[in-house]
């Protein structure tokens, strides 16, 4: 991967970084470092990267999506959106956020593609429909898949934001009439960083972008191309309701006693035990909340094959089993005892042997009756002796 640091990002229309107070700026970089699982001492390094390297040009293409990812980004508060797009990155094209529209907007895109070819980051939002030659997404008389194929080769890195872009999301849910595919599957052979989530946590996106800007390489990815710093652990592992799970305290219906007491939502279908994401750590909307926090089971949006695929209230397949908060007794009785079936079979066999022995004994008693000690040939029953 080419290093991003070699390029200067002083082009574009954004305001200079100086508008953000130094204190606020370092604080933001600290947040990013924390999200990345790096020590706070990394914050100055990240800050330096942004200051020296200039702002990273970003082209944001929207495909088959609900724009929820953008909405999620709009609601991040540290930094706020305007600070983000004007001071930290240089957002060159975004259909929702563009100042201009129509021909003007398309011209801006063309200009960026020419000017920043090989230097900008492409962020793709939404799935790519392939059915019927991709007619289900058309932008500027161009099918979505064609637009992606035109822009992506010129990008320095591609980030698929949201579950739709990452693995198909809602549009790809059965029966998938539009033939929706993930961005990664269209751009085969080129690394695409997936930031799944419905919506994704904006900090996971920002952290990825700034990691890229700082170190000139993509963060470590998991098997599904998700940054490990954000998707390395199960929701279950960081869940605030976990002690209830370990102790076997479950909400069994919405509004029941256990639900009101904040018990574990596993039995309501919470997919935390099979969903890798940091929702329980980073939380959402800057109000320290996540779906699980407010009493709704996780539905596994970041996990291909779980979100939008498994029924909402079906129990999760636990990925990593751990001991509960209770213990076996030192003298725990185990093993299989007598069952009616085995007792019957054993009884029949034993009884049969006893019965046969009894019958034979009787016959022998009769045969030798009054003739003790006789060593004569004697048929036990109706046997012919020669």
């Amino acid at each position: 991967m080419a290093t991003a640091k070699k390029f200067s990002y002083n082009s574009g229309s954004g305001k200079p970084l100086a508008d953000l107070s130094r204190r606020q700026f370092i604080k933001f970089c600290g947040c990013v470092a924390a999200a990345l699982g790096m020590p706070a001492s990394m914050a100055p390094k990240i800050a330096r990267a942004i200051e020296q390297g200039g702002r990273l040009p970003v082209v944001w293409l929207s495909f088959q999506g609900c724009t929820g990812c953008t909405e999620s980004l709009l609601r991040s508060t540290h930094p706020t959106l305007e600070k983000l797009i004007f001071e930290i990155i240089s957002l060159e094209y975004h259909e929702t956020l563009n100042a201009g529209a129509g021909i003007q907007a398309e011209a801006a895109l063309k200009e960026t593609l020419n000017r920043d070819a090989g230097r900008f980051v492409l962020v793709a939002e939404g799935a790519i429909p392939l059915a019927d030659k991709g007619v289900y997404v058309r932008i500027n008389e161009q099918a979505g898949v064609d637009l992606l194929n035109e822009v992506a080769p010129k990008a320095l890195a591609v980030i698929a934001i949201g579950s739709c872009a990452s693995w198909g999301g809602i549009p790809s849910a059965g029966p998938n009439p539009t033939g929706a595919k993930s961005v990664g599957s269209i751009l085969e052979g080129r690394p695409v960083v997936n930031i799944p989530g419905c919506p994704p946590n904006p900090y996971n996106f920002l952290s990825t972008v700034l990691y890229f800007a700082t170190f000139g390489k993509l963060p470590e990815l998991d098997a599904h191309n998700r940054p490990k710093f954000a998707y390395g652990r199960l929701i279950h592992e960081n869940c605030e309701r976990r002690p209830h799970f370990d102790a076997g305290r479950f909400a069994k219906a919405f509004g029941d006693d256990g639900h009101r007491k904040g018990f574990c939502l596993y039995k309501l279908g919470c997919k935390g035990p099979e969903t890798f994401a940091n929702c329980q750590v980073v939380k959402f909307g800057d109000v320290e909340a996540s779906p699980i926090s407010i009493g709704h089971p996780c539905f596994g949006c970041t996990e291909s094959g779980v979100g939008f695929e498994k029924p909402m209230f079906q129990r999760a397949d636990i990925q990593r089993f751990t001991p509960p908060a209770f213990y076996p007794h030192v003298f725990e009785p185990r093993g299989e005892g007598v069952t009616p079936l085995t007792a019957a079979l054993g009884g029949v066999a034993f009884g049969g042997a006893i019965g046969a022995g009894y019958a034979l004994t009787n016959r022998l008693f009769k045969a030798t009756d009054g003739k003790e000690g006789a060593d004569k040939p004697k048929g036990g029953g109706a046997h012919e002796d020669e």
């Binding site: 093993g335 005892g337 007598v338 079936l341 085995t342 066999a349 022998l364 006789a374 040939p377 020669e386």
Partner: protein
């Protein structure tokens, strides 16, 4: 058995196919099916064996009781060849056949019981031999004795002259066999002493896991005596079973003498066993709880046949002999079940009762043994002839 034997033997009269044979064959086939299930799905699927009772019904019944019942040939060999009690020699062949079958099926069920039967050849590789292991001694010794038992049956097979259409020329083989017969016979007496006593020694290492009423340094002696008692019991039962099935003569007087010997032996056993308990000061425990009850029942089963045999009239009555034989076997079998199963406790409470398939395999193996026994006595001269005849006059 040998050329000069007083008794001669003949194949069982009547057709092979009778009700008993058909029933045994049906049971054997069911057992074969159960065995296939064990081989395909493993021990956990087919048995209730568990980590607290790693040895269950297959070991207690097939190996401990099975080889015990197969010790009739051994016990008789001691009498006939070591003590020169020629009158018992007519019982030899059936007893040896029972022994050969009992031991072979014990071996077969051990293979079924082995978790990694594919590695069983390691027992024959000197690099793997572990001379500290009692089980190693038992395994090799049992295999050797099984071989000896079959060799002891070779004369019976050779008498047949034609096997499966092939006319065999037994002269050379026969000559060598008779020349070395004393070696075979000596091994046939030595090996059971070794491994039957070692079946008891096996449990010494289990220490506290065997209830103190049973755990004893005298295990080898108890197991040896119980093996001989079971063997005698088996001889008596077998004689009456085959006699009444084929109408051949009862050997009441001979068997009466045998029962007398067995009674003396079990008297000796009881004396040592109770003395052992007194010595270790365990009488208080003897009557305590479930193990105490088992202990009382087990020893009452030894006392009962002694009482039967003590009376001369009863001793020479076929019915009483039969009851005494059953009691000798029951006592020794219960003793062996107690040591390996009922009084074996893995410290932590583990339940164990054999599973349906486990019992089915045991019943099926009995069926197979009966099938082979009936076939063997049908095709080969195993049973004593109806009238005592001199071998020379037959030829």
């Amino acid at each position: 058995m040998q050329k000069g034997a007083t008794y001669s033997y003949e194949p069982s009269p009547g057709p092979l196919w009778n009700k008993a044979f058909a029933a045994a064959l049906a049971i054997a086939s069911t057992g074969a099916l159960a065995i296939l299930l064990r081989l395909f799905f493993g021990l956990g699927f087919s048995t209730n064996l568990n980590d607290g009772h790693p040895w269950g019904l297959w070991i207690t019944w097939d190996v401990l009781v099975g080889t015990g019942l197969g010790c009739g040939g051994f016990g008789l060999a001691l009498l006939v060849y070591a003590l020169d009690k020629r009158e018992f020699s007519s019982l030899m062949r059936p007893a040896i056949l029972t022994g050969a079958l009992g031991y072979s099926f014990a071996g077969f069920s051990v293979i079924l019981d082995l978790g990694r039967y594919g590695n069983v050849y390691h027992l024959f590789m000197p690099s793997h031999w572990q001379f500290n292991s009692v089980l190693f001694e038992v395994a090799l010794c049992i295999m050797a004795y099984t071989l000896i038992l079959w060799i002891e049956l070779v004369p019976a097979m050779l008498e047949r002259k034609v096997i499966l259409g092939y006319r065999i020329r037994p002269n050379i083989l026969e000559r060598w066999l008779y020349r070395l017969l004393f070696v075979v016979l000596a091994l046939g007496m030595l090996l059971p002493i070794m491994h039957q006593s070692s079946l008891g020694s096996l449990l010494i290492i289990a220490g506290h896991k065997v209830h103190p009423l049973w755990q004893s340094i005298l295990f080898p002696a108890y197991f040896l005596i119980s093996a001989i008692l079971m063997g005698y019991g088996a001889v008596v039962i077998e004689c009456y079973l085959t006699s009444s099935l084929y109408g051949t003569p009862f050997e009441v007087r001979t068997l009466g003498r045998l029962s007398g010997i067995a009674a003396w032996l079990s008297l000796f056993y009881l004396f040592v066993r109770l003395e052992d308990l007194t010595f270790r000061g365990l009488w208080a425990e003897a009557l305590e709880g479930w193990p105490g009850m088992l202990f009382v029942v087990e020893n009452a089963l030894y006392v009962a046949p002694i009482w039967i045999v003590a009376n001369k009239e009863r001793r020479n009555n076929a019915g009483w002999q039969f009851v005494a034989a059953i009691l000798f076997i029951a006592a020794s079998a219960l003793y062996r079940f107690n040591t390996y199963w009922f009084a074996y406790n893995a410290h932590v409470p583990w339940r164990y009762f054999p599973s349906f398939l486990e019992i089915l395999v045991v019943i099926g193996l009995i069926g197979m043994e009966v099938v082979l026994y009936l076939a063997a006595i049908h095709f080969f001269p195993i049973l004593p002839a109806s009238r005592p005849v001199l071998a020379s006059s037959e030829k």
